[in-house]
């Protein structure tokens, strides 16, 4: 009962309330559907992170303990885990120094001291001092000692106040080119690693395209042509490719396509020559316009591909997927689909 019926009852009741609650004018139900239910879910998911984190730690520590294959990498994983925890929850690592009451004649000198201590631009700091009576030095200090050291150097010029950044705000605080320890981890470790993984896509797209874009049949040829048009049309170099050049290539390609179908080679050659001649005359008459004929101009073609067939295809797939989601959700709500509970 506990494992099957109660979860199923919860799914059915909450599902029906969420589905039909949208139509009721009762504020309580509206609040539950729009806010409370999703917030309950977020709270559960947030606390569930402990399960995942503990599982991760357990597996990595077991790997180290049993000295399994590549256990050295697990040390990095565990260290990284605790370091991020430390920087986010235990160590603020964010102190600011503000300076007030600096005499005008000392601005240049003070700016020099601050610039040296914070590796900032003297002119910018001078401008800041001149514009603000109470000036916050454009640097976040990771240690109180570091802040105090600069404060001491400036104490003879004005009143210095060292303030710790609020917990929470310490995660994202940034002054000048510096931030807290957590900010440092995010910008100098996490960001480059994430960008690197995303950059892998460029290489994988190249190898996947090379492997998959072959003229095996009509659909594959269509895919290939659309892919090439989009790849060239989306980038500035596509604008530099003359539509006339593309037109000539198109005529030659058509000649290659019809050649096997027409026995008399003379007819094929005549068609190709006629096509080239027509295009040449057109070009001469229009002064070889760099953006016409539009049908051969890559940027125009790619816009058309995006606006017409892509939109149509995307809409069709979205409707299909939407109906699939409706069907699956309905089956879950009425209790027909119980596989996710382990039942078959």
């Amino acid at each position: 009962m506990m494992k099957r019926q109660i979860p199923l009852l919860i799914v059915i009741v909450v599902g029906l309330i969420t589905l039909f609650g949208h139509f009721f004018s009762n504020q309580g139900i509206q609040n539950f559907v729009d806010n409370d239910s999703t917030q309950w879910y977020d709270i559960i998911a947030s606390f569930a992170i402990f399960l995942g984190a503990l599982n991760l730690l357990k597996l990595q520590l077991m790997k180290i303990y049993k000295k399994q294959n590549n256990w050295q990498y697990s040390i990095l994983a565990v260290l990284g885990f605790f370091f991020a925890l430390f920087a986010g929850f235990l160590y603020r690592g964010a102190y600011t120094v503000s300076l007030s009451g600096v005499a005008v004649e000392n601005h240049q000198e003070v700016a020099g001291i601050i610039a040296t201590g914070t590796h900032n631009n003297v002119a910018l700091i001078t401008a800041g001092l001149e514009g603000n009576d109470d000036y916050t030095i454009p640097m976040v200090f990771m240690t109180e000692g570091g802040a105090e050291a600069l404060g001491e150097d400036l104490s003879s010029y004005g009143a210095t106040v060292i303030s710790p950044v609020q917990w929470g705000a310490h995660l994202t605080v940034k002054l000048g080119n510096s931030g807290s320890l957590f900010w440092w981890i995010f910008n100098y470790i996490f960001t480059p690693l994430s960008a690197t993984m995303f950059a892998l896509l460029a290489f994988f797209v190249a190898s996947a395209s090379y492997r998959a874009f072959r003229i095996r049949n009509f659909e594959a040829t269509l895919l290939l042509s659309a892919g090439i048009i989009l790849m060239l049309g989306r980038v500035p170099v596509g604008q530099m490719i003359s539509p006339w050049f593309v037109g000539f290539i198109f005529i030659l390609a058509m000649g290659a396509v019809i050649a096997p179908m027409v026995k008399n080679k003379f007819i094929t050659v005549s068609i190709v020559v006629a096509g080239i001649a027509i295009l040449t005359v057109w070009g001469v008459l229009t002064g070889w316009d760099s953006t016409r004929p539009a049908i051969f101009y890559f940027p125009v073609l790619q816009e058309w591909i995006f606006n017409v067939p892509t939109t149509a295809g995307a809409r069709a797939i979205m409707i299909g997927i939407g109906l699939g989601i409706v069907g699956t959700s309905f089956r879950i709500i009425i209790g027909l689909e119980r596989s996710f509970l382990g039942e078959k």
Partner: protein, 288 residues
């Protein structure tokens, strides 16, 4: 006409009548959602009708879906090669229907790995998915009479972050070299990274997702891809339960109704545009 169809249609009509009556009073229902309400009732009754028909014995035809038929072949291949099976249930949480569908397929794959005694590795990106996947796998192994083969850590958590997860799964693929890789769930940009890495290790890959922008990547790099609705019909297809098959047919009939509506809207919008009718049919389908 079918008696049950009439009963359901009558029931639906009564509900809609009650809805509109109560709507007038403004106490229970809020205005502006009439088209949506009618659509919900219509869709629900259509699916219920065909589910009922299937339960009563009507044979429902479902075309063969290559990706689902290949599941057993893929697990068999892994067993022969003595290598594990990798199952990736997407990167989103249980609030996404695609993740639920992915876990349904995981249940069937787990049954097969239990039956064939192949290893199963399920790295997940969310803690709740980890728990749900463990339940699913445990039940599958129990059902096959192989509870001894199941262990909790076959489903393990990596990280919530998209690309860190992709890096982790790639690492598993390159180290353990699974013979079969299943990508079933909600994916974003990491889909091609996973699929290309799987391709590089020579694994047989079967993907299924409801993310329209990732389908082309999976089609290019995987051996089989469940596109759009095929992914959501997996449960019905694999279980062959009549009521689930009936609901799929109901879904298809709803799609037919949507197509008819689209044609009607197209025609009437054109007529309205040229002033041949005062009826602006789009207002009937607009819900706020």
């Amino acid at each position: 006409m079918n008696k049950r169809a009439l009963i359901l249609a009558g029931f639906g009509a009564v509900i809609i009548l009650i809805y509109f009556q109560l709507l007038k009073s403004g106490i229970i229902f809020r205005p502006g959602n009439e088209p949506m309400f009618i659509a919900v009732i219509l869709v629900s009754l259509t699916i219920l009708f065909y589910t009922d028909r299937a339960k009563r014995g009507e044979k429902i035809y479902l075309r063969s879906i290559a990706g689902l038929q290949a599941l057993e072949e893929a697990v068999g291949r892994a067993t022969e090669m003595g290598k594990p099976v990798l199952f990736v249930p997407g990167i989103m949480d249980m609030d996404q229907v695609e993740t639920v569908s992915g876990l349904i397929i995981l249940g069937y794959v787990a049954e097969m790995t239990a039956q064939y005694e192949a290893g199963l590795n399920v790295p997940v990106s969310r803690s709740i998915v980890m728990e749900a996947a463990r339940e699913t796998c445990k039940e599958s192994y129990l059902k096959q009479g192989r509870p001894d083969q199941y262990f909790d850590d076959m489903v393990h958590y990596l990280t919530d972050d998209q690309f860190a997860y992709a890096a982790g799964v790639n690492g598993i693929m390159l180290r353990e070299k699974p013979a079969a890789c299943f990508y079933q769930g909600k994916f974003y940009a990491e889909s091609l990274i996973l699929a290309e890495t799987g391709n590089s290790i020579g694994a047989i890959q079967i993907a299924g997702t409801g993310s329209p922008s990732q389908i082309p990547f999976f089609v290019t790099a995987c051996d089989y891809t469940l596109i759009g609705e095929e992914f959501f019909t997996a449960s019905a297809y694999l279980s062959n339960r009549p009521e689930l098959l009936g609901s799929i047919k109901g879904q298809d009939i709803v799609k037919l109704l949507v197509m008819i509506c689209m044609i009607l809207v197209f025609i009437f919008t054109g007529l309205h545009h040229y002033g041949w009718t005062n009826l602006d049919i789009l207002t009937l389908f607009t819900s706020r």
